[in-house]
């Protein structure tokens, strides 16, 4: 319909609308043409507002609104006085409501009066479907009459209700059916075999209709049959490398003439091998697979298609399996050895092992082995040891024999199965010192999930060695560090890079060795450690504190076990935390102890060590310790200095003591006068034991005796210490002795004070003062003075000097006291003459008690002299053994003495 026709139709509609009576109860002032249209986004849309007479307005009063937005006047077109059209461009943002309004009169309160409104339904016209394809599958013995089609609809959101219709046409018949957005089917009642047909899709909505390209096909182009049925595989004896495959046609040839496709693989493998299509083009039901491996189980699948390739391949048939018959091994067994170091010097142990031949062609039942010039020995293989059906070739240990380092030998091996023997494999083990050279370098890398090894060939020159200088092949050997599992593979002589074919485990450390082989001679290996994939260490290092100091600590950790490293340790990081602050130190991977310095003394530290690989790190457990308050040796220095000081003081004290020994001894053990040497002890037996009380007037007879006072002060102090004794002494008014004796004599009490206060005066007179006694000429204390040879008259007072420093005895000082009291205080004179009184026995007992108190030091000189004094007074002056005692250089003391004060 052209534009003029449209315009004409529009005018007619307007005329009709203007003339038509209105029956609505609602007063209408006009209308919009068209009513509720569907508009295409991106296109212009024109609407016309027609005013009725009731509107009482003209075209100039009309204005358009899109919801609340007034359309500019420029877009208006006045058709006549009562009709105005507007043209707007539809966008996604265009409001749905288009309103026609009139301006209200100035008198009207309602300024804007809506005349009419329409709802715009926006959308897009349908898009052309593309990539239409159809298929008819087999149903029973025939092809299904339903043809299923798929296509790609438009990518744009249609926004409007859209219908899809699938059409099928063939000569004399047309079919159609409603379809979904991207698929549908047509039922032709009977599949139009060998006919031409046309199929297309129509898409329609309010904005238009579009048709896909017509699919002009022959019926055979749509056919997809079932896969061949009853696929069967026949294994024939004596044909160890072939299998006969048979099947049945899925559909009668009159419907579809088919060709086939066959594929096969070994059990467990997904690497299918397809039979060349040309071999199975003919319409056949069997095919013989060739060039197969003996004693191998194969899986076979078959599919079919129209013999000219029309239509679709059927699905693959279900798996059919069969095993080819056995054949004798056609390749050598894979012979290898492992040299085990022996504890015996200059000897090693060789473990001979092998894998069954690659082309074992059956189950290997055993091996025949010969070492050097020995005989062939048979090693039977149990079924459990070797399963030829397994894809993985197992390692079979054959022999372990001691092998001298200087021995060179040839090992030969043959494998045999139920059909025959394999070719012979050989291996030469050279002398240890004449091993052919190793490869020059060895490295590894990973690529696409596999571990690759790269090496450089050995630099071999002809040196007259028994082996040929050409490398014939390489052997790659890898050993798992974690479990010791090993395996090997052979590579050709020109190979420089090879992927490890074994089933390597991630995070597992492998020691990979490359052996160059020289026509069966095993060269020296070159070994390298490698990982298929590195990971984070399973555990951190075990850390311990070997030593802690005041400001440092020495940490020590063990290397993580190799099977738990899961990668190459790149470094260790030491973390130590104190006071909430963490510090870290990175050390190299070969460091296993470290001394952390600059630590705070007497502080608690938490330490851990992190082991890192390229993939990550793992921490050890935290370890806490405290640093010392003092450095090592500091305490020892203090102790030693204190000890030295103490020792020094002791030594000093001892020196002082030694130096002052005499005075100290005298202080501790004051000198006791030896009564036996006392001249006073040489009493005259004529005198009664009871001395007469001396009289004051006897002072005239007192003679001054020089007393050797070497330490006057000490004496005074001693006197002070023995105050009770002194009191007794000082109570005596009969005695005076030494220097100053006159004062003592004049006043006994005063002498006490003199001795205390003015003792120094006497000491200054002479450094050495001998004791002196005043010997009364007429006896003293009633004792009878012993006659001295040099003194003719006993009554003559004389001075007697004594060498003894012993203080004077109380018995001498208190002759007037009761005898019992005197004896108690003077044990040296404990024994009185037998005839002195009848209480002598009691006195002796008392004297003995006193002796015990005095100690043994005093006992050594007391009792014996007393006996002498009492029983043999005539022998005074002689030693008990009759020897004359030392001659007194002074006159004997007659009246005792007293301490000099």
């Amino acid at each position: 319909m052209d534009k003029s026709s449209y315009r004409l139709l529009q005018l007619l509609s307007l005329a009709w609308l203007a003339c038509r009576p209105t029956y609505s109860s609602i007063t209408t002032y006009g209308t919009i043409i068209p009513q509720s249209p569907s508009v295409e986004i991106g296109k212009e849309f024109t609407a016309t507002c027609v005013l009725y007479k009731a509107a009482k307005a003209t075209a100039e009063d009309i204005y358009w609104k899109l919801k609340n937005v007034t359309v500019p006047k420029e877009q208006y077109t006045k058709i006549n006085d009562s009709a105005v059209s507007v043209t707007i461009t539809i966008t996604n943002e265009t409001a749905n409501w288009l309103l026609c309004e009139k301006k209200g009169s100035s008198l009207s309160l309602n300024l804007n009066q809506v005349i009419h409104g329409i709802l715009l339904t926006k959308g897009y016209p349908p898009e052309k479907p593309v990539n239409l394809s159809c298929m008819a599958v087999q149903f029973g013995r025939k092809i299904s009459s339903n043809v299923t089609c798929t296509w790609q609809p438009g990518t744009r959101d249609e926004m409007l209700k859209t219908t899809y219709t699938l059409f099928g046409s063939l000569i004399g018949s047309n079919k159609s059916s409603k379809a979904h957005r991207s698929c549908g089917y047509i039922d032709f009642d009977t599949f139009p075999s060998f006919m031409e047909l046309a199929i297309w899709v129509e898409v329609e909505n309010k904005l238009g209709k579009v048709r896909s390209d017509i699919l002009d096909v022959f019926a055979a182009d749509l056919v997809k049959t079932n896969p061949p049925s009853d696929v069967n595989i026949i294994s024939e004896n004596n044909f160890s490398r072939t299998l006969l495959v048979s099947w049945k046609h899925p559909i009668h040839v009159t419907y579809v003439t088919l060709k086939y496709n066959i594929r096969f693989c070994t059990v467990g493998s997904r690497d299918w091998t397809e039979v060349p299509p040309n071999d199975t083009e003919s319409y056949k039901e069997s095919f013989r697979l060739q060039y197969l491996k003996p004693d191998t189980e194969y899986v076979v699948q078959v599919r079919c298609i129209h013999y000219r390739g029309y239509g679709y391949w059927s699905d693959w048939s279900a798996n059919s399996t069969a095993r080819t018959p056995e054949d004798k091994p056609t390749s050598k067994p894979d012979l290898w050895r492992v040299v085990i170091p022996s504890q015996v010097k200059s000897e090693r142990r060789v473990q001979v092992m092998c894998k069954d031949p690659v082309e074992s062609n059956g189950r290997i039942r055993g091996y025949s082995i010969k070492i050097q010039d020995g005989t062939w020995e048979t090693v039977a293989v149990n079924d459990s040891d070797l399963d030829s059906r397994s894809q993985e070739r197992k390692i079979i240990p054959l022999y372990q024999i001691p092998w001298s380092d200087k021995r060179r030998g040839l090992i030969e091996l043959k494998a045999w199965n139920s059909v025959g023997e394999s070719p012979q494999a050989s291996l030469v083990i050279p002398e240890l010192t004449h091993e052919p050279p190793s490869v020059e370098s060895l490295s590894w890398f990973t690529h696409q999930g596999r571990l690759w090894v790269k090496w450089q060939p050995p630099n071999v020159t002809a040196t007259g060695e028994p082996y040929r200088s050409e490398v014939t092949e390489y052997i790659l050997e890898w050993v798992s560090v974690s479990d010791g599992a090993m395996d090997w593979q052979r590579e050709r002589r020109h190979t420089r890079t090879a992927a490890i074919k074994g089933n390597l485990q991630k995070f597992n450390r492998y020691n990979i060795s490359v052996y160059p082989m020289y026509s069966g001679w095993t060269g020296k290996p070159l070994t390298i450690a490698a990982f298929l994939e590195q990971g984070v260490p399973l555990e951190g290092p075990s850390v311990k504190v070997r030593r802690t100091g005041k400001n440092d600590a020495e940490l020590e950790w063990m290397e993580i076990p190799l099977d738990k490293q899961r990668g190459f340790i790149t470094n260790y990081t030491i973390f130590f935390i104190t006071g909430g602050k963490e510090h870290s130190i990175v050390v190299s991977n070969d460091t296993y102890s470290y001394t952390v310095k600059r630590m705070a003394s007497n502080s608690k530290y938490v330490v851990r060590v992190m082991a890192s690989t390229v993939q990550g790190s793992t921490n050890s457990s935290d370890l806490s310790f405290n640093t010392l308050m003092y450095a090592s040796g500091q305490i020892e220095a203090i102790v030693v200095s204190v000890c030295i000081s103490f020792l020094f003081s002791v030594v000093l004290t001892m020196l002082c003591c030694i130096y002052k020994m005499d005075s100290i001894i005298k202080k501790i053990w004051p000198p006791v006068p030896d009564p036996s040497n006392s001249t006073i002890a040489k009493w005259s037996p004529d005198f009664t034991s009871k001395a007469d009380t001396p009289k004051e007037n006897a002072l005239g007879d007192v003679s001054i005796v020089e007393v050797d006072v070497f330490d006057r002060k000490s004496l005074c102090e001693e006197d002070k210490a023995g105050l009770p004794l002194k009191k007794d002494k000082y109570l005596s008014e009969e005695h005076s002795s030494g220097i100053g004796g006159s004062s003592c004599l004049s006043s006994p009490h005063q002498s006490v004070s003199d001795s205390d206060e003015g003792g120094d005066e006497g000491q200054t007179t002479a450094s050495t003062v001998q004791y002196s006694s005043v010997v009364a000429s007429c006896g003293y204390k009633g004792q009878t003075p012993c006659p001295l040879p040099q003194s003719g008259s006993s009554q003559t007072p004389s001075f007697a000097r004594s060498e003894s420093t012993q203080p004077l005895l109380d018995s001498e000082e208190h002759p007037e006291g009761p005898e019992s009291q005197r004896y108690l205080r003077n044990p040296y004179f404990g024994r009185l003459p037998a005839g002195n009184n009848g209480d002598s026995g009691d006195l002796e007992d008392l004297n003995q008690m006193e002796m015990k108190k005095q100690g043994l030091a005093l006992r050594q000189f007391c009792p014996l002299e007393e006996d002498f004094q009492q029983t043999t007074p005539t022998e005074e002056g002689q030693s008990p053994d009759g020897q004359p005692g030392p001659d007194p250089s002074y006159m004997p003391q007659l009246s005792g003495y007293r301490p000099q004060c």
Binding site: S169, L170, I171, G172, S173, N174, D189, T190, P192, S193, F194, M195, E196, D216, F218, H252, T254, Y255
Partner: protein, 226 residues
């Protein structure tokens, strides 16, 4: 032309509405005929071969159809097929030259279609709805119609200057309007039997025609090029 049309309007005595409706129906009919006989220019050999294969398929199915028919007619089914009847087209293909023989094939296909339809209707009354016989009869009609159209196209391609008569060359097939059950069964069996025979002959004829027509046309086409 438009003036000629205008001049013709007064000559028509029928009303305008009826005239319009008649025009529409005519257009639809022309379209339908065009759709039914729309033929593509195809290679002779493949075209005939495809028809030959279709003939073979129909023949195979006709063999099965006859077996099913006999099996579904109960007792005396063999007797039904041996009864003579003269209302069924003769299956023999006639003609001297290829065009005549091909036209005869086309005519026979067309001639058997109403008989097959009649048998189908009769058996629909005699057989349960789920009977495979009905389905096979329908399929035979469908395929035979398609085969007839293909033969038509081949004929048009091979002999573009020779018109195809609308009616079969042997004249319109006469079908008795009413038959009893016995007559229906005899009729049906004879139709299917002759139909099978026709297809057998058609296979042979098409193979022969392919060899005669396609090789010669290829040769002629080759000569024309040079």
């Amino acid at each position: 032309m438009s003036g000629h049309v205008k001049n013709m309007y007064p000559q028509l005595s029928i009303s305008q509405a009826a005239r319009t409706l008649l025009s529409l129906l005519l257009v639809a009919a022309i379209d339908s005929v065009n759709a039914g006989i729309a033929c593509r220019n195809q290679q002779c050999e493949s075209h005939i071969q495809r028809s030959s294969k279709l003939t073979r398929l129909i023949h195979m199915e006709s063999v099965d159809l006859l077996k099913i028919y006999k099996a579904s007619q109960g007792d005396m089914s063999e007797l039904f097929c041996q009864m003579p009847t003269n209302i069924v087209p003769d299956p023999n293909i006639s003609g001297l030259d290829p065009s005549e023989r091909m036209l005869s094939i086309y005519s026979h296909c067309k001639a058997f279609l109403p008989h097959l339809k009649r048998v189908t209707e009769q058996q629909r009354d005699l057989q349960p709805p789920s009977s495979p016989l009905l389905n096979n009869l329908t399929t035979a009609q469908y395929r035979t119609s398609g085969l007839a159209n293909q033969i038509n196209c081949i004929y048009q391609n091979l002999f573009p200057n020779l018109p195809i008569p609308l009616e079969p060359v042997d004249g319109p097939t006469s079908i008795h309007p009413s038959q009893n059950v016995f007559q229906q069964k005899v009729y049906g069996c004879v139709v299917l039997k002759n139909f099978k025979e026709l297809l057998s002959q058609m296979r042979h004829e098409l193979r022969t025609l392919k060899n005669q027509m396609c090789k010669s046309r290829t040769f002629a086409y080759t000569n024309a090029l040079f």
